[in-house]
Structures are given as C-alpha cells and as structure tokens.
C-alpha cells in the first residue's frame, strides 16, 4: 500500500551509482537527479597506510 501511495504523486528520483537508470527516467520525463558514486576501491594494506599519511 505504501508503495502505491508513493506513486500517486509526481515521481521524483535520486539515483545513486550507474547513470543508466537516471538517463532512462529522464527520457520518460521523470524528475531525477544523479549521484555519482561507486563502491570504494579495494587497496593493498600498505597503500592504505600510505594514503592515511598523505591524503
């Protein structure tokens, strides 16, 4: 029921990650904003330690 309630009004989307969904929604006239995000990179321990010191 709550899902149906949400779709009764104008659909507004915040899309996180792959911009494909955002683009498709925009093409269909849906208001959508894109948040560029991707999972953190897995790094070797020694590089993580160095980055803590320099960044």
């Amino acid at each position: 029921m709550s899902g149906m309630y949400a779709l009764r009004g104008e659909l507004k989307v915040i899309n996180v990650g792959s911009s494909h969904f955002h683009d498709q929604l925009r093409r269909q006239g849906v208001r959508s904003i894109q948040v560029n995000w991707r999972p953190p990179v897995e790094l070797e321990d020694d590089l993580q330690d160095i980055l803590k010191e320099v960044l």
Partner: protein, 421 residues
Amino acid sequence: MSLREEIEKANQMAVERMMEASALWVDVVEAGRKLAVFSQPTILHAGPPVEWESASGPLRGALIGATLLEGWADDPQSAERKLAKGEIRLLPTHEVGVVAPMAGAVSPSMPLVVIRDPKYGNEAYSNLNEGIGKVLRYGAYDETVLKRLKWMGSELSSAFKAAVDQAVKERGGMDVKLILTQALNMGDEGHNRHVAGTSLFLNELVRYMIMSDLPKEVTLRVVDFVKGNNFTFLNFAMAAGKVMTLAAHNIKYSTVITVMSRNGTEAGIWVSGLGKTWFTAQAKIPQGVLFPGFRPEDANPDIGDSAITETSGFGGFAMAAAPSIVSWVGGSVQFAVENTERMYQITLAKHRYFKIPYLSFQGTPTGLDLRKVVKTGIEPTINTGIAHKQPGVGQIGAGVVSMSIEMFKRALRHYAQEYGI
C-alpha cells in the same frame, strides 16, 4: 608543518605554475644542433626507456625509418641489424625536453619546434606533424614517408623558421597557449582534435610567411600542407603542454603527475616530487574506431608522448569541450562529458584559462594527483591514435585508452620510501 600540509603546499605551487606557464613558439632548429645527445648516433623515442628487443612493431618501424632517413643504413634490413646490435643509441624524448606523438622517433636531421616559457625559464621541443595514415610516427617507412620527411626537413622547416623569426621580431613569438585556449572554446580538446587549433595557427602563420617574403610557390605548398593536415597543431600543443608541466616538475613533496607517456610496450609516469624516475606498467590497447579493412587484433598497445596534453589539463581530460571528437575516437557525446566529469575526481584544480563551454565554462580538470588516482582507482583517460602492431603499416584508427593503475601504485610506494613514510 605536517607532511600532509607540505604536500598541499607543494601541489598548490605545482598546479599554479602549470596553469600560469606561458608557451611561445620562438624557433625551428635541427634536432642535432639543439640537443647534445645527438653527438653520437642516437634516435629519441616516445615513452619510458625501451631497448630494440622489447620495442613494439610501430616503434621498430619508426626507428628503421629514422635510421634510413639519416643515411646510417641503405635498406631496412641493415637498419634493423644496426638497431638490434645497439649501434644506434635509443633515448626517451622526455629526458631531453622533447615530446613527439606516437612512436616519437626523432633523429638529428629532423626539425624541432622550440616552445619557450619566459615566465619560468623553460623550453620544450617537438617535431613537425606528418599527417595521418602511412607516416613514420605510426611505424611506416616506405619511400613516400621518407620523401615527405625530407621535404619537411628542408622546405617546410625553412618556411616555418622564416615565419617564426618574423613572429619573434613582431611580437616575441607566436602564443601557442592562446591558440589552445581559443581552440578549446571552438570544439577541440587539444589532443585528438585540432580542427580549430590548426585553423587558428594557419591564420597566424600566413601573415608571418607573407611578411618574411617567401616565394609564392613555397608559401602555397606550405599553406596547402598545413591546411590538409588538421593535426599540424598537435605537436605545438604537445610542446606547450611539456613546457607547462616542466614548470610544475621537481617540486619537493608534490604528488602532481608531470609526465604520462607510452612506448608501445610500456606506459610510464613521472611525479613532480620524485624527479625523473619512471614508474611503468604494461601499455593498454586502445578501444575506438578503426579505418576500413582493419580489425581490433591488428592494434598495437598504446604509444606516444601525446598524453602530455592530458597531463597538462586538456586532451582527454577536456573531452566535454569537443563533442565532435566522438566521430573520430568512438563513444557518445555523453561519454565525453562523463569522462571529463570523472577526471575532476583525480585532479586538483579547474584550469584558470582552459574552459569548457558545455560545462558553463568550467575550467578543465588540471593537476593529476597521484594520491587521488590510487585512492579512487580511477585511471586517467587518454584520447589516442591506434597504430598497426606490425612495423611498416601505419595508423589504423583512433580511440580512447587509460593508464594502468599499477604504475601509480608503484609511484606511491616509492614516494613513501623517498619521504620516509
């Protein structure tokens, strides 16, 4: 001051100098007269150091061609033998302030353009661009290639020399940075698209050629050659990029990348705070649009010094400025925009002078930061040409490639050792 603060201060200085450096074309000289390394038989090549045994097909082809051009061998077979025996020394262009596209073969009789930065007192050099297709820089070396190179080393370079002398007399030289700045506002990205840059360059050149009283037929041949080769301005833009990155190089603590280059086997980088030490990894194979008749498996791994454009804040990093480039390198306009946006995540500043109209005249991503590349895992994107992997063939397309994360990891580990982390 903490190490982190030292790095911030050094990087700020490096980026400031990179953006503020000027780039004036002031001379054309024979490479052998300008650079002391040519006192013995030597050919320069793009990218990190490489010996004949590991050289890729297009580099081998270019080295054979340069050996024939110099008259050090009478035929390709004897040229190859001399190169394999090490009778001709191979040196990386960057180590003597030169940048040259693709194979980057520069031998003593070839003309170099001299780009000067009076502000920070640096000079950088590049050779002259031959055009696309069957050309030396893509590994072709037949009679047509050598004939064109001989003409470029005589009539073309003499005409350019006369023109640039006139430009120096009138205005202290030709402002290459200004042309580049305008070209970025006219649909070029400054690496793989120079339609605007070459036109603007020609506008300036013609005036100086007329003023220097060159014979009409010479002027006409030179104008036709430049007009027929949209990549004429590439080499000037590259030397300008080199002089800008020289201003940012050798700053203690700085993690700004000041060289990215490839030799067709390996790709390598320099870091401002780590001097001239190369950090390398395997060069990747570009993805893009191939000329008719060629297949993806014909492509050689990436090659050339032209990534100096991205290193200094244009080229692939400014792809959003050049929507038309997708017809040449592949992809979509959206990809071009997204690529530029991604590069902001691994750079330190938005360029003060190089602007992108489509992004509300935002500055281009400038000052590639070693730390950010490793942290984010985002590999810098380069717009590039594609060479056939066999020597003697030439260019087979154009596309996009990235610099492997591995060389950045190696550089960061070395940085930690160097600065006692």
